[in-house]
């Protein structure tokens, strides 16, 4: 009994998994001592800035840089002409397409990079940009992906003329990129034609942008003496960037050092390879000086990494009592001028085929057509795992549409269609193996927590009052049960540019019992330095406070594929646990030697190996660490360190149940989120405080996306939302307050059972907010209205439904 208490005390002292350990990063950040890219200032550093296209589609007839070169402080101006001899005027994209680094004869979207001005500081660079003269000849613009596919639509990508085979199979039109299919077409069509009920709807998930508070940027520094290139940048995947730079620049990979310093939020924006990186590297080689490039906010919103823009036509079939029998989806994906989506190679539409969601749908079919338009390239996973958020929005809207058709309660419709606990591992009709889940438990907990039945009664009363003229406010109850798919991924399925999506961790234990761990991932605010140390602490029994964590320097960290798609915990977290277990295994042999017993006669107890049956004979990890460096142990090498490269056997499938209650003013279109309840199941919880923080943040992004945030273009391809005045980022004033909750269904294949949580709240909250808006008007005949639900659009719903006074 007494022993048990001390074990517990010792475990508490480690601040391992399950504790809300305060973040180690915060001591620096709260006093302004972070080190972000724009904080870097090297001797003689220059600054680069882009001349950007004012047109969405135009021929570039001539670029005159002579006046710019006369501007005081301007040292060089790069155009495609200068880059062409190096073969760097185009670069490969992550999606198997290629993209202009600088306009090569034409521009395909407003804000496209046309020339790169290098000057002594950012003011002189801006002066230089003003002085570059470009002659354009306007071409017809296509911003609508459906119009882009019409037979006589203008040809956007002349460089692809005649190429009817793309990176992902045949192209069927000059503006077509790929068709990607999953599931069974004929079988699904058969189910649809024979079904009791079929609901059909077009669900549009509009174009938006991750917009982290820090924009993208880099500092390239070519050391002419050593021939070594150091590239600092806001990279979510530093090793992949190193390999890409090596492949496209011809600089040997060992001569490239990529460093991601502190990153001011990523959310997918910082996964891609951008023109600014290439131009900075070239400019540093040309000038012999370090060159910094940092986007301003307008550059960021116009050119790097939009997200979503999926037109999803859906059909869902069910029996008359609501059992879903089939799902059909055709998506038109607007990829902009170049296909620069950041998806694993074999998944040009990401994991859109998770669109059967949390439901047991026996037959399904999905087809996605990627299309070029005169918009910015990108298509990144904005805090989601490769199109999962589109998939979740689609299915959660289709469920609601079906509920309307069946005249059923949408909570009940979900319940009768959930995959049951005993069906896991569950093979979905579109090809995934869901690892684990307990949806009914989570759902019941959520409905009970919000008092669902009472809410519905209140809503019924409200409708009656509204009809009686007693109120002008309607009430919506938004429901969502989402299933995420994260942790890409098994190397056999998932690679980026041929690089398998494993991840890695190296741990070195110092003689005095402290440690350093290095990972292939990179934190952008997720608190890796805090949480990964907690995993190690629990695995090897050294206090988390004694473990330093390093990421982001390719010269020191083991190779990894980086942080996006919620893959850090599922993949690098697993690598961390595995490396720690290798260390523990060696420590056990050292303990056996010191205690003069067979290693099988030892058992692990929190922070020590104890001789079985004799609690007085033990060696602590701290003692074993010292012994590893101090004792000559027969048959064992000195030292105590390990590295693990982890290739996950499967993805993990976090899930959650979200409920939102919203009041809507029919006359102004304003809304008030009265309540938002978020239950997440991310398997084993490493740091509950950090999980909660991730949920608050992700839900707030979801709130923005659903309620007002969009990247919009006019007919001419003019970007209408390129400042924070127009692009909605909620403030503390509008942002709802969230109630978080959880269930724990560990992943059966992950060493510590963790699934990842960072992106779940974005995936889950968008349909939840949107469903609340729809639900408020359901009883007045609304079936589907596209996001974002800003005040005007909500007012318009009411207007179209005839709810305003004559």
């Amino acid at each position: 009994m007494k022993d048990e208490v001390t074990s517990k005390d010792r475990a508490a002292g480690l601040k391992g998994m399950g504790t809300s350990r305060k973040r180690v990063e915060d001591v620096r950040f709260t006093q302004g001592k972070g080190n972000y890219v724009d904080d870097i200032k090297l001797d003689g550093m220059l600054f680069g800035d882009f001349v950007r296209s004012p047109y969405a589609h135009a021929k570039v007839v001539n670029i005159d840089t002579s006046a710019a070169m006369k501007v005081p402080g301007v040292l060089a101006v790069l155009t495609a002409k200068e880059l062409a001899p190096l073969g760097l005027h185009w670069m490969p994209t992550l999606a198997g397409d290629k993209q202009m680094v600088l306009a090569d004869g034409k521009v395909l979207f407003q804000g496209q990079e046309v020339a790169f001005v290098v000057a002594t500081d950012r003011y002189a660079a801006a002066d230089g940009v003003e002085a570059v003269e470009v002659d354009y000849e306007e071409l017809p613009v296509v911003v609508d992906p459906f119009k882009a596919m019409e037979p006589d639509a203008p040809v956007l990508r002349e460089d692809l003329a005649g190429k009817m085979e793309g990176a992902h199979g045949p192209r069927k039109h000059h503006n077509h990129i790929f068709t990607w299919e999953a599931g069974e077409k004929d079988a699904t069509e058969k189910v649809l034609s024979g079904a009791d009920v079929v609901a059909e709807e077009m669900v549009y998930y509009h174009r938006t942008h991750p917009c982290p508070l820090e924009t993208c940027g880099c500092v390239a520094s070519m050391d002419k003496v050593t021939g070594k290139l150091t590239l600092y940048g806001t990279f979510q995947a530093p090793h992949a960037i190193r390999t890409v730079v090596a492949l496209i620049s011809g600089i040997a990979e060992h001569n490239i050092r990529v460093i991601s310093p502190d990153i001011g939020g990523g959310f997918g924006n910082k996964v891609g390879a951008y023109s600014g990186y290439v131009c900075s590297v070239v400019a540093s080689i040309v000038t012999g000086k370090p060159v910094k490039w940092v986007e301003d906010r307008m550059d960021n919103l116009m050119s790097t990494a939009f997200a979503r823009d999926y037109w999803m036509q859906g059909k869902i079939a069910a029996t008359k009592d609501g059992k879903i029998t089939g799902l059909w989806c055709h998506t038109t994906a607007d990829h902009g001028g170049f296909d620069a989506c950041a998806d694993p190679t074999k998944f040009p539409a990401g994991f859109m085929n998770i669109c059967t969601g949390s439901y047991d749908i026996p037959t399904a079919y999905l087809a996605v057509d990627g299309v070029y338009t005169n918009k910015a390239p990108g298509g990144v996973a904005y805090r989601c795992s490769f199109r999962v958020t589109e998939a979740a929005y689609f299915i959660e809207r289709m469920i609601e549409v079906l509920a309307i058709k069946l005249n059923m309660d949408a909570a009940e419709l979900r319940r009768i269609n959930f995959i049951r606990k005993d069906q896991f591992p569950y093979n979905s009709a579109l090809g995934w193996e869901y690892d684990s889940g307990d949806y009914h438990t989570a759902w019941d907990k959520a409905l009970k927590a919000v008092g669902y039945d009472a809410l519905r009664a209140e809503q019924a009363q409200r409708i009656a009052d509204f009809k009686a003229g007693k109120t002008r406010k309607l009430m919506g109850i938004g429901l969502t049960h989402f299933t995420e798919i994260v942790g890409a991924g098994p190397v056999k399925n998932c690679d980026i540019l041929g690089l398998g999506m494993f991840d890695s961790c190296e741990i070195r234990i110092h003689p005095t019992g402290s440690a350093i761990a290095r990972l292939g991932t990179i934190s952008q605010g997720q608190g890796h330095a805090t949480t990964f140390a907690q995993i190690i602490a629990s695995e090897i029994g050294l206090p988390a406070d004694d473990i330093t964590l390093e990421e982001g320097d390719t010269d020191t960290a083991p190779y990894g594929l980086g942080t996006y798609g919620s893959r850090s915990t599922p993949v690098a977290g697993a690598a961390t646990a595995m490396a720690a277990r290798k260390i523990r295994a060696k420590a056990q042999m050292i303990a056996a030697y010191l205690l003069e017993v067979h290693d099988d006669d030892l058992e692990w107890d929190v922070d020590r190996f104890v001789v079985k049956g004799d609690a007085t004979r033990f060696k602590t990890m701290k003692e074993l660490a010292f012994a590893a460096y101090n004792k000559a142990i027969p048959g064992l090498e000195p030292g105590l360190e390990a590295v693990s490269y982890y290739d996950p056997p499967n993805m993990t499938y976090p899930f959650g149940a979200y409920i939102c209650v919203m009041d809507i003013d029919v006359d102004t279109g304003e809304h008030d989120v009265r309540q938002f309840y978020a239950l997440d199941d991310c398997g084993t919880r490493i740091n509950p405080m950090i999980i909660e923080g991730q949920v608050h943040g992700g839900c707030t992004e979801g709130y923005a996306i659903a309620m007002g945030q969009e990247i919009a273009y006019d007919e001419m391809g003019n970007h209408k939302t390129a400042t924070l005045m127009d692009f909605f980022l909620p403030t503390a004033w509008e942002t709802p307050t969230y109630t978080t909750d959880f269930t724990v269904t560990p992943s059966p294949h992950h060493p510590i059972g963790a699934k990842g949580v960072g992106e779940s709240p974005n995936v889950g909250s968008v349909p939840c907010f949107s469903n609340a808006v729809h639900d408020a008007f359901r009883h007045f005949g609304l079936v589907q209205s596209h996001m974002p639900h800003d005040h005007w659009r909500i007012w318009k719903i009411a207007e179209d439904l005839g709810l305003h006074a004559e």
């Binding site: 305060k22 972070g34 972000y36 943040g697 400042t723």
Partner: protein, 164 residues
């Protein structure tokens, strides 16, 4: 462009330097003085990452010319640590309540919160949310920022009472 001489007080220290008339305060702080706590998130007065305290008011230093700050008394987040180098109350409360993630908005947030609590030492949650609405955060959803500021208010009031 010809440069002008500017002299101001930053975090209690007299500093001076040469700057173009068009130089923004944020760039002077970051590039000339290498005070990199205040960040740049937009350069258009929307995000608040560049917030500093100038003559007892919160300003967005991306919208102030350093020429306008000539002779001013400026405090940045670096100036809010205690004399012994430990974290100031608001900084400590942000850490305690997980009021930051990537940390990019944090210097502006804390500097703004510092001024808000001078203006209104016992704010309600609503007043905190309204008073902080000039500062955007993309990571936290504000919930823990609000908590941290309310907790700071309590602690600061306690300290003041103890001192009196």
């Amino acid at each position: 462009m010809s440069k002008m001489h500017v002299k101001l007080k930053v975090n209690g220290q007299e500093v001076e330097g040469l700057a173009e008339p068009r130089t923004l305060l944020i760039h002077f702080l970051r590039e000339n003085l290498r005070i990199t706590g205040p960040h740049i998130g937009c350069e258009t007065s929307h995000c608040g990452a560049c917030t500093v305290d100038m003559n007892g008011k919160s300003v967005k230093s991306c919208t102030v010319f350093v020429a306008q700050a000539n002779g001013a008394d400026v405090t940045t987040v670096e100036g809010l640590v205690n004399a012994d180098g430990s974290l100031g109350v608001i900084q400590e409360m942000f850490r305690e309540h997980h009021g930051l993630q990537c940390g990019f908005c944090t210097p502006g947030m804390i500097t703004r919160a510092h001024r808000l609590l001078q203006e209104n030492p016992s704010p309600t949650e609503e007043e905190v949310r309204f008073g902080m609405a000039g500062n955007l955060c993309r990571c936290t959803g504000y919930q823990n920022i609000v908590k941290a500021i309310l907790a700071s208010a309590d602690l600061l009031k306690g300290q003041k009472e103890a001192a009196e």
